[in-house]
Symmetry: C2
Subunit: 363 residues, 2 copies
């Protein structure tokens, strides 16, 4: 089976490790001699239970998750967490939570939480079109807040938190677009969660890592599938989980281990991002969107200053197999997503192309 020479810079769903896909291809009709595809297996079967337990164990090892925390495999994407978090943590309509609004998804999460409680904006970079991440001293923290919410990496704007906020309230963090790209001290967090479709697996599973002491506080109106307590008690199998996505996550984690785990991945990430930021910093054509101290190493956003030229950049890139470089409509310009599974060759091909394009188009 030939795979064309294509590099996929999509912000998500996005490129998966080639090795993981090849293993899935080899096993898709008959998993481990079962005579069944993983897609056909009862979630209560010994075969699937083994996949489930192994995947959980691999994730626990990869992120060094302490025993105080539980790993859940849920459905509904990050957007379902936007509701699940306040429903489970605010305790009542009087419950307070602090939100740092540093991008589109943090803003949606904040608006959704307002349905359920007293939500305060601890910081916002919206007035500056989300070009930066606020510093610790800029955070306005509310005493007695039930939690502090932030989004670690903003795919649309290309910014990323370089520090872990210090707060009295439990930290709740959306790591959808940079989980597994660097070590994380999970013990510092009340909840870490991530939709799978950037660094982990195909769309359809959401990983939630929750301090078990936070469970059991859901409001009475909480839908049964949106109770962390229920999901902890049932080990994510209150109902049928998204089995295939969990299986794929396991294959990605096998690959991750061979890259040296999250520490190895971080070193590779630095190298990949530097290759592109070095070009931006030495360019007379490209203008980066994010402030230098707030740069994301997962999603790099920039523009030429000429919308037509930006479009031409993405179009000519596609002709040579560099796919999905168009920026999000709310920022425009160009966006290159360098997720874990983006091969170094892809980043090199992009760097070469950027240099060529600049020579050709810089007046």
């Amino acid at each position: 089976m030939k795979r064309e020479e294509v590099f996929n810079f999509s912000a998500g769903p996005s490129v998966l490790p080639r090795e993981a896909l090849e293993r899935a291809a080899a096993e898709i009709l008959n998993y481990n001699g079962s005579g069944m595809s993983v897609m056909e297996m009862s979630h209560r079967s010994a075969f699937f239970q083994e996949i489930f337990d192994a995947t959980k164990a691999k994730l626990k090892a990869a992120l060094n998750v302490p025993d105080t925390h539980e790993i859940l495999f849920l459905q509904g994407g990050a957007s379902t967490q936007f509701s699940m978090i306040p429903l489970n943590l605010l305790e009542s309509a009087e419950g307070i939570a602090d939100y740092a609004v540093t991008g589109n998804f943090a803003r949606i999460a904040m608006k959704e939480a307002k349905k359920y409680g007293d939500i305060r904006i601890a910081a916002s970079s919206e007035a500056d079109n989300f070009t930066y991440i606020p510093a610790q001293e800029e955070l306005q923290l509310t005493p007695g807040a039930k939690y502090f919410y932030y989004c670690a990496n903003n795919t649309i704007y290309g910014t990323e938190w370089s520090y872990v906020p210090e707060t009295e309230a439990p930290l709740v963090c959306d790591m959808s677009s940079d989980i597994l790209s660097r070590p994380v001290d999970v013990s510092k967090y009340g909840i870490v969660y991530a939709g799978a479709q950037k660094n982990m697996a195909p769309a359809g599973v959401t990983v939630v890592i929750i301090d078990k002491s936070l469970a059991g506080r859901e409001m009475p109106i909480t839908p049964l599938m949106l109770s962390y307590k229920t999901m902890i008690e049932k080990d994510s199998m209150y109902n049928t989980p998204p089995c295939w996505c969990i299986y794929m996550l396991g294959l990605t984690l096998d690959w991750l281990e061979k890259q040296g785990g999250v520490a190895g991945m971080e070193a590779i990430k630095h190298e990949k991002a530097k290759m592109i930021y070095d070009i931006l910093d030495n360019s007379r054509l490209y203008k980066p969107h994010a402030r230098v101290d707030s740069r994301s190493e997962m999603n790099i956003t920039f523009r030429t200053g000429d919308a037509d030229l930006d479009a031409q950049f993405a179009k000519e890139a596609q002709a040579r197999g560099l796919m999905n470089l168009k920026g999000h409509r709310s920022v425009g310009g160009i966006r290159a997503s360098l997720y874990n599974a983006q091969p170094m060759e892809g980043v090199k091909a992009l760097a070469d192309y950027m240099k060529e394009f600049e020579v050709k188009h810089h007046v």
Copy 2:
């Protein structure tokens, strides 16, 4: 790639059409010359949009869905619908709905709805261990009810509604375990929904077919991902949908069409179920669980009357490749799920085995 000779009688997730799996295997690394797996594609890409639109069109054609209704591809399984339905249709805590409780999942749905409104039991076969489906004249319908809820087929008990209830209130039906196994007049329903993992696709996508005039009545507490209106407006892409499962559903629908669509499937279903029920009706060993007029053609439940012998039945079956015949713990005994993708050879192999086992064990 060899696939062992195994027939999978699991109640779900369950067997998928061999042809669909083989096509998925062939395309998994490189879909249609894109150079990407469907698992890696942006849900906003032209490639995926085409898959999405085609799958929806195929489902619309297969079930003859009228233009008054919208087809949604959601996450969270049937269990999320248990909350989504009352949150969207009851309008207020005073809103009334009638529930027919004919099995485990209808009962859970009813209990969940009680969180949100005034829920009445229109009929229940619980006192008789869910062996039957109530007749039309047994249904106690509440004037002014916002909807009437029932579960078309009960996987655990092996019963199935053979008629469409006549009610003033809109019909809401969980068809998780018999959708696509027979023609349905969708125009008679307010909502038809089904988790995919029995007759459609791998676990992870829930199909909802909703009369658009019912949308927009959600209570203010409804989580954003649980609003039918939002999902209709965004064509199921408020956030990233479960792309791979939607793709697999499309492949199943291609296969279904070759079986003569739902009408063809119904004829095959009759033949398969008859093969097993004929044995039960002529047996001195096997005792069917369901009342004759309420029999399911998807899940056939029976027992020998001796729990050890039931266990032996399932165990010896497994040794000859007839997998997952053990009944659900709440009924015990034996359960054979004959979903659409269960090949006729599988049912014949089961029939032969049942006869042999009876000769060997009937005293």
